[in-house]
Structures are given as structure tokens and as C-alpha cells.
Symmetry: C2
Subunit: 619 residues, 2 copies
């Protein structure tokens, strides 16, 4: 049985044929790697994902977590998977060698995490949150903190969390009330309650290191007065682990990711909770923001992963499920029945899932690749360029991936028909698990405001201009290929539309109409995402078309019949043909709407905000 | 606390101001009714829905159904709600008086069923399936069958089901294998297995009457050889109810509607299952098709109902949940925090939910109203006209309502943020329950084929032409109002686009390109639905704008300031303003895309079907 979590051929296409990540090995930073080592990592990741993590997915969904006397138990099956994950050193994959890591490129880590998340998103919350917390300590911790916490966290011996949200402080982080009072020895007494803390408590590790946002007594209100603390569940005293007064008061019953413990944590109920300042006082938001890109990309990967697994499962089902005859024989009751992949509407759904999944994958890996190019850059200019790409693409990676990834999981249910609605099949779980991605790590509405209010404004729109210029190069390259002529034109048009809307926003933002960019931030992000993902697919089509022609030439396939024969018998040819089709289909399905979407935004229609609150419905 | 299941003001607006259903009372058939009796029905429905059915919703979701020794138990709380439902005679609401019913218009029944489904979709499956089965008997049963089954079913004493699906026969009903062998006494011996039978077994009634599609020995293959049988769970012998060899072998664990028993039923395992033919042999599909409109409209109502409840809950949450300051004070940590309805992106989501929910409601009620106009018609011509509207709108009512209703439930989660993902709030259940609507009663893909392959073809497109002409009248009327000028234009354009695409389909269907209409059937249904729902909202806007002007005039509000004051203080004014805004917002959000959607269809892009199967992914 082949891997049903992701299309490995497509993963390798993005890594080696589109992004050409072997080139990274030419830089000193990645000089010890090669395609062979990359492939070894991928193979090992597939094996772990398929054989060890995937079998825990339905189990975790059914059992969920159990809270008993303030302590959370994860499903039994998670323990073995976690042990193997740690033994494989997967948390260390992209950690720099001087921090004890393996130093692989981030883009490869994206591919591995996609696989693991596709295998079990809830499971991956535990190592995922740990690495996020460890990275903060890596970047801002003292030598002592690195030694005490980071090493143990990267190895998986201890776990970690991020504690931001409070009941009154969700999207409005600045409203948080958790308090820190400085002790004479330089530590702080922490008190307050946090909610929605993923992996907030569990029995996978002997200790959990919470990164807690809190306000030092007397600090300014809002985000400017927030500090960040290392607050371990158990603190070390005289070489012993002692209880640090962190209590799990409740776990949430949720739509999905049942086996991810979403905890309400109380700090300092017995006035005995010690926190250790990370960085300086009141620097909490700045420090946290540094990790934002990584955290949001991680959520984008989850959206991708659920879409990927959903697509693969729907595809297998469509190839195996026999129902009805081909459409032209609909009225002949004796006509042979065919697998549903032969029904055009099913094809249409599969094609939608295929191009969206592949497009998201390319976009997300590209973001990971940008990180690597920053690290491997030969000049500050080059690093700044990729940092700019990364910064402007992150909200798209997070939002478009989670919104459209969710649609892919929804379509997977639809392809399965009535069976898709039954828990016996895994697709409904994919949809439930996927839904959280549009909410946490900053709702998609917050992402849109980040894109429009912050990223577009950077250096008078320099990030935007830079990425638009980059797509110009791609368009120029693509338009040289006469076979892609019909595909290229809609891309060029859609690109102009995005530029036009962006200018419109620029004008509006300096007038009394500044509410328009705010009101249309989400539709703008959608339009931007259509383009970003579309260009990834166009980029792939240019490469795939060239490869396909090479195969045709090698096979001396110079007639439609011979080409069809090649497609039937040569799997590489079929794959490349599929890549070109993804760009075609995406263009026709998404970019055909760009003009309308742009017009809708630029209409400036503002009924939603002009309406009195009373107009919405009478209570 | 006001009703959080649906906006009663909007319900009454559709019934009395848009459809003007009081006029129905002028026909003899509805002459005994009046607005007062209609209002009494609505009030009673709200009360039952809110006070008795809604409290069973979360309970049913948590407990689900229990299968023990071949018998299904529904949650305890359902028994009382079911008793009250039956005592209220709700199943009889729109049943003709000569069949023992109350004879109210169908459109009123739509409103009542919307409320009940919003209160608990799973619960409503039991009376809903019963009425569907009873209606079949009403129309095709013998006098004896009417007396024995129909009366008891309408009263709720016995329940009913529809048994179509078998493991190998889902969308392809003609592939069914359940067998009927004629007995000397004219009854039939039934044997075979059915799956996905909603309300297939339960303990709400002493007996369940299954309407079973089966093939009489020797009948032709495919749909032409299908007959329909009344197969009671217990048959009457010598005045006693005896077991009729119908076994519930399993119930499905599902994504949603947990408390609706989705059963696998085995008929005749002990060779002792008797069926009674309904109508003639081999007429099963024709008979069943007669009930199709009603059954599909019922699913459309479910899609509407979940959307409605989701919108109302999201709206309340948005008005109560305080988070962050208004956008212009974002950087001032001391600025007062506001309810999230003041945040533009939340407004945008609410507006989306509002206009879609209101649009679906109007469309669905309109379909119910068409039924009533058929019954009240003064001429065959008039009846045929409304039958035509109904026939062509039904696939839209079912599909667009379920697809977009689902999006409304999804957005309700998004408005709730992290809380929306928690089972503590009801919105995630709305989404889970809603998802089934795009699948059962013919998947939405099947609906699209019905629209394109069957309904468009009727009398050389007469149905289509007739409904397009009707919208022409509306456009003419609307364009007389200069205040709606900007709104009307996009409607006219979108309408032209639909006509153009329909012509294109007509041409393609008679050429070798007949696969294009098949491939694009679902996108076509979407485009058609956008228009159908849009026109409902435009129709409403014309009325609402007139009423609003009347209110302004009465209040002598002749300046923007005075008008704003009226909107703040006069709830009717605020409501009408909201109706105009729904049309505006819908036009800008949906109809702005019509041209692009039309172009995409007419591109004839066919990569999805041209691609070899191997291109989808390598297994």
C-alpha cells in the first residue's frame, strides 16, 4: 500500500525540480548535505508518519485526553509514537548544529512536518509547541536557560507551551492580566489564569516548560507592558524537580484535534509559582513576534497536511468505489459500472483538491525555502529580499492554506458520499481537525489585518513591490513557452488586478476612507492568495511542460496518439502532464474570478459597516 | 431571551411582505385561513421549537442513538418532544383536509419546519421521514393502505422511512438488489439489505413503516425494474402486530446528526418479511420521483435552518463578546474595549451570513409558495407555470442552500474564535449537522446533473425561459426606483451571463462536446443559485426600500442626520435598511463574480476529464 498521507512525487518535485534545494548545499551552511541525505530524511519521515504516527490518529480522535486530578493523560498509543519521534531527533532536524541540532534546511523540515501533521495533527501539537518554546529560549535565553531548558526540550525530554490567551484576552493580547512580581533573587512570582493552552498538560514528559506572557507589576497597559517568562511545571531546586504551582483546571471538548490537550492553566494558586524572565522586562511582545512567522507557517503546514491526506484518501476512494456507468451510457442498465473517478463531477472535485493542495504545498515550502535563503545569503541585500518575501507571504501561508485546505477536506467528504459522513472513514476527522487552523495563532481575520495594515505598509510598500517584481520574472519566462500561452495570460491579468487593488488601498489608507482597506482586508488576502498560489502552480507548469516535452522527444512521440500512449505508460509523463493541468484548472477556477474580486473590493461598498447594529436582527 | 433559532421578523417579512401569502386565502383552498391563523401557527411553532425541541439538541448530539439487540433507542429527551410534536398535529399542518390534515399552505409549513430543524435537525428526521413516507401512501395507496398506514403516520402513532440505498447502490439507485417475490395472496416476500436508512429504527413509536425499493423477480435491470413496497416493521395479523422480520443490523457513527438513527436494515433474514406493493409493479422510480421535490426541499430547509441558527448565535456572540478597542484606537491601550460586532471583519462575516441566510430563506419559502400557487391556481396554465418554477428551482434549493448554508455555519465558528471550536458552544454542532445536507437526498453533484441534464432540457428550455422572464419583470420594477439604480445594474448583467452560459450549454449538448455541460454542471448550478438567491434579495430590497421611505416620510426625516436618528430608534426602519443592505452586499460579494464564473464555464477548459487517471497522484 502506498503512502496515503501525501504525494511523495509532488513533494520531491517541489523540493528538487521547482526550488532546486540541492543548490542550497553550495552554501557553507548546508555544505555537508546532498540530495542523498535529503532523500534519506524524507524516506525516514514517510516511514515514521505512516507506520507509527498514522495508526494513532483515529485512536486519539476517539479517546481524546483525560483530565484526572489536575493531570492530563494522552492516549496510550501516543507514548510510543512520541518516543520514536524523539529518538529520531525530529525536533532537531532544522535546529542549528551549534545548538545541538542537525542543521537541515527549513524547507526539508516543512516536508517532514507536513507528513507528521497529515498522520496526526493532534499528536504533532506536543512536539510542535515544544520546538516553538525551545526556539524562543534558543534566541533569547541566557546560557543557563539554554542548558537547563533548551537542550532538554529539543531532545523531547521536556515539553513546552506558549501561554498567551486569557478569557478576556484573545485576539486582543494586550488585555492580558496575568501578573508577575519580582522576587529579591531576580525570579518572579507568577499568578493568573490562561486558557486555550495547547499541549498545556500531558504525561508524555516529566516536565513542561510554559512560555508565559504576563505583566510585571507597574508595567504600562496594553502590549507595551508585557513580559515573557519561562514557567516550568516543575522547577529545579537543589537538583530535584519540585512542583511549581501550575494547575490544569480544565481541558476543552472540541470539534477536532481531540487528543491535543487544550488546557485552562492556573498559575500560582498557592502563591508558589516561580517564573524566569526571558530577555528584558516589557519585551514580551517583541520577543514573541520574532517567533510569529514560524508559528504561523506551522499552522499553514497543518492546513496543507489535512488537505493532502484528504486529497489522497478521496483519490483512492474515487479509484476504488464503483458506482454507475460512464455518463454516455447512463440510460443503459446493462452498461458496465465504473469507478467514480470516471464521473466528470468527481473529476472536477479531485482536480480542485489536487491543484489547491499542490499550490499550498509549493507556497508553504517556498516560505520555508525563503528562511533557508536568508541563512545562506551571500549579502545582506539577498537576505533582506527573502526576509521580505517571507514576511509578506506568511499571512497568506497561514490563512489561504487553512481556508482552502479546509475546503479540500470538505470536498473529500463529498467525494466519499454518505460514507464520507461516517466516522468509519477518516475524512470527516480531517475536516474537523483542519477547522482549528483558521482560528488559532491569530485568526484569519487578524492575518488579513497583518497583511494589509502592517506588511503592505512596510517601507512604503517595498515588500509588495519586490514580490510583484519576482512574479514578473516568472511571467516573462513562462510567456516564452508558446504551449503555455493560453495559461499565462490570465495570470498576467490577475496580477495587474492585484496591483491595482493594492494601489487603491494605498490611496484609501491616507484618506478618510481608511476603513475600506480594513473592511476588505480578508477579501484582499484571498485575492492575494489566489495569485500567490497560482504563481506557484504556473512556475511548476513551466518546469513540468519542459520535462514532458523532453519525454515526448525521447520517446519520439510526435503525434497525439503517441503522446497519449506515453502518458498511459510513463508515470513521469503523466505526473508532469498533471502539473500543467493543475495550473490550467487553477487559472480557470480561481484567476477567472480575480477581476470580479478586485472590482468588488474597489467598489468600496460599505453596507456592512454603515448599517446600524440594530439592522442585523431583532433580538 | 429572544428566539435564537431564526429571525422572526425576517420570516414574517418573506411571508407577508414579499410573498404576500394572505392573498392565498382568497382562493377557495385556503379560504378558511387568515394572517391571524398564520401568525398563531408561527407563534406556536416558535414556542415548541424554542422551549421543547431546542433543549434536546445538544443532548441528542452528546448521547446519540444506542443499538441494543437489534433495537435502537433515541435519547430520552426526544420522547417528550416527539409527543408534543404529535399532539400539536405538526405533521398534519400542510396535509389536505380530506386526508385528515389541517390544509395550511406549504409555505407556512416551510417556516415551521425551518424552526424545528434549527432547534434539532436530528430530531426532525423522525417526523420528517414519516411524513415523506405517508405522503407516498396518500398519493398512491389503496383505501385500505390509507386507513391502515397513512392515518397512523400523519398522527405520529407510527413512523416511516424511505429505503433506497444499498452498499453497491448509492447515487446509482438502479443497481439495487433487494428482491420481492410475489405470494399467492398478492403480497410479496422481501429480502435484501439496505443501508443509510435515516430513522430506520427507534423507540419513538410502536411501529415503523418502511417504503422499500426492490426488484420483483424477473423485472428488468436498472431503474425500470424497480417497484416500491410498504414494509412495516410489524405487520398486522388478526388484529395483532407481529414481527415482520426487519432487523436493524447496525447504526452509523457520524460526523453530525448523532441522534438520527442511520441504520443498516436487513429484510427477510428469516424468510418472513412481507411487503405490500404500492401502485403497480416496476413503477417504483416514477412514484418515488413524485416525492423528490418535497424531499429535496426538505433538505434545503435543513441547510437554511442550520444557517439561520448559526447566524443568530454568531450575532448574539458578536454583540456580547467584548474584545479590543475600535480599529481607529488600536494603538491606545486605554481606549475602551468594544463588542466584536464593531470590528469591520466581524461585520463583514455577519453581513455575509445575514444575506445568505435571508436569501436562502426567501428562495426556499418561494418554492413552498409555488406549491401553494399550483394548488390554488385558477387555470392549468397558471399551475403549469408554478410547477415549472418549482421544478427548476428545486436543485438550487437543495444544493445552493446546503453548500452556502454550510459556509454560514463555518463562519459562525469563525466569529466565535477559539470558543467556536469548543463543544461548549452550539455552533460547531450546527456545522457538523449541516454537512450531511450536501450529501443525502441526491448529492449536490446529482442535483447539478438534474438541473443541467433534465430541467434545462424540459420542453426545449421552457422552464428556464419562463423563470428568466419572471426575473425580467422584477428588474423592470426595480429599475423604476432611482435609489436602487446602482444595485440593479449588476443583477441585470449577471442575469445576461446566466442566459449566455445556458445557451452555450444548449449548443454544446448537441455537439460532440456534450461533456462540457456535464463537467460544468456544478459550477453552473452555483452561478444559477447566485442569481436565484440574488433576485430574491433584490425583490426584497425593492419592497424594503419603499417601506423605509414611507417611514422616513412619516417621521419627516429629510436630512441624513434625521434619517440616521430614525434608524437608531425605529426598529422597523433598521430592519428595512438591513434588507436593502443584504441585496447590496450580496450583489457586491456574489454577483461581482458572475462574469468570471460564466467565463470560466464557457472557456470549456477540460483538463479535469482530459487528464489520464494516472496524473492525479502516484499510488
Amino acid at each position: 500500500m502506498a503512502n496515503l498521507l501525501c504525494d511523495e512525487r509532488d513533494v520531491k518535485f517541489v523540493l528538487y525540480e521547482q526550488l532546486n534545494i540541492e543548490e542550497l548545499c553550495e552554501s557553507e551552511k548546508y555544505s555537508e548535505f546532498s540530495r542523498e541525505t535529503f532523500d534519506m530524511v524524507l524516506d525516514a519521515a514517510v516511514k515514521l508518519a505512516e507506520k507509527e504516527i498514522w495508526p494513532t490518529n483515529a485512536d486519539g480522535d476517539q479517546k481524546g485526553v483525560i483530565l484526572e486530578q489536575g493531570a492530563v493523560k494522552v492516549p496510550e498509543s501516543f507514548h510510543n509514537a512520541y518516543r520514536l519521534y524523539c529518538e529520531g531527533g525530529w525536533s532537531l532536524l532544522a535546529v542549528p548544529p551549534d545548538m545541538g541540532g542537525q542543521g537541515f534546511p527549513s524547507v526539508l523540515n516543512c516536508a517532514a512536518v507536513e507528513l507528521f501533521s497529515a498522520a496526526n495533527q493532534a499528536f504533532m501539537m506536543y512536539p510542535g509547541l515544544t520546538i516553538g518554546a525551545a526556539r524562543l529560549i534558543e534566541k533569547y535565553g541566557t546560557e543557563d536557560q539554554l542548558r537547563e531548558y533548551m537542550d532538554r526540550m529539543y531532545s523531547g525530554e521536556w515539553a513546552g507551551t506558549m501561554c498567551l490567551t486569557e478569557p478576556q484576552a484573545g485576539s486582543d493580547v494586550g488585555a492580558l492580566r496575568t501578573k508577575a512580581v519580582k522576587n529579591p533573587d531576580g525570579t518572579y512570582k507568577i499568578s493568573g489564569g490562561k486558557i486555550f493552552i495547547s499541549a498545556g498538560d500531558h504525561d508524555l514528559t516529566e516536565n513542561i516548560v510554559h512560555m508565559v506572557l504576563a505583566r510585571v507589576e507597574g508595567a504600562p497597559p496594553g502590549t507595551r507592558g508585557i513580559s515573557i517568562f519561562i514557567v516550568p511545571k516543575k522547577r529545579v531546586e537543589n537538583g530535584e524537580l519540585v512542583d511549581n504551582d501550575v494547575i490544569c483546571a480544565a481541558t476543552e471538548k472540541k470539534l477536532g484535534i481531540h487528543a491535543s490537550a487544550t488546557c485552562a492553566l492556573n498559575f500560582g494558586e498557592k502563591d508558589n509559582c516561580i517564573g524566569y524572565l526571558l530577555g528584558a522586562e516589557n519585551e514580551g511582545m517583541r520577543i514573541m513576534f520574532n517567533m510569529m512567522n514560524e508559528a504561523r507557517l506551522a499552522v499553514g503546514i497543518q492546513g496543507l497536511a489535512q488537505a493532502s491526506a484528504a486529497y489522497m484518501h478521496a483519490l483512492r476512494y474515487a479509484k476504488e468505489r464503483v458506482q454507475g456507468p460512464e455518463i454516455h451510457a447512463l440510460k443503459d442498465p446493462t452498461a458496465p459500472k465504473v469507478p467514480i473517478i470516471y464521473h466528470p463531477d468527481v473529476r472536477r472535485m479531485l482536480m480542485w483538491m489536487k491543484c489547491v493542495t499542490e499550490g499550498i504545498r509549493a507556497l508553504i515550502y517556498y516560505a520555508g525555502y525563503c528562511e533557508d535563503r536568508i541563512h545562506a545569503a551571500k549579502s545582506e541585500e539577498e537576505a533582506a529580499k527573502y526576509q521580505g518575501f517571507l514576511d509578506i507571504l506568511i499571512p497568506i501561508c497561514k490563512s489561504w492554506s487553512s481556508d482552502m485546505g479546509f475546503r479540500v477536506t470538505e470536498l473529500a467528504i463529498q467525494v466519499h458520499g454518505g460514507y464520507g459522513y461516517c466516522r468509519e472513514y477518516p475524512v470527516e476527522q480531517f475536516m474537523r481537525d483542519s477547522k482549528i487552523c483558521s482560528i488559532y495563532e491569530g485568526t484569519n481575520g487578524i492575518q488579513a489585518l497583518d497583511l494589509v495594515g502592517r506588511k503592505l505598509a512596510v517601507k512604503q510598500g517595498a515588500l509588495f513591490k519586490s514580490i510583484v517584481a519576482e512574479t514578473g520574472n516568472l511571467l516573462k519566462n513562462a510567456s516564452k513557452n508558446y504551449r503555455l500561452k493560453d495559461i499565462v495570460e490570465p495570470f498576467a491579468q490577475a496580477r495587474s488586478q492585484l496591483v491595482e487593488v493594492t494601489r487603491y488601498f494605498g490611496l484609501k489608507s491616507i484618506t478618510e476612507d481608511f476603513m475600506i482597506p480594513v473592511l476588505y482586508a480578508s477579501p484582499y488576502l484571498e485575492l492575494f492568495g489566489d495569485l500567490a498560489v497560482g504563481f506557484m502552480l504556473l512556475w511548476q507548469a513551466v518546469i513540468a511542460d519542459r520535462r514532458l516535452e523532453e519525454i515526448y522527444n525521447d520517446a519520439k512521440a510526435d503525434t497525439p496518439e503517441k503522446k497519449a500512449e506515453v502518458l498511459r505508460t510513463n508515470r513521469s509523463a503523466a505526473f508532469y502532464r498533471g502539473k500543467v493541468a493543475s495550473a490550467q484548472f487553477f487559472s480557470n477556477t480561481f484567476l477567472s474570478l480575480s477581476k470580479g474580486k478586485a472590482r468588488a473590493i474597489m467598489s468600496g461598498e460599505r453596507s456592512a459597516i454603515d448599517l446600524p447594529e440594530e439592522s442585523f436582527a431583532l433580538f
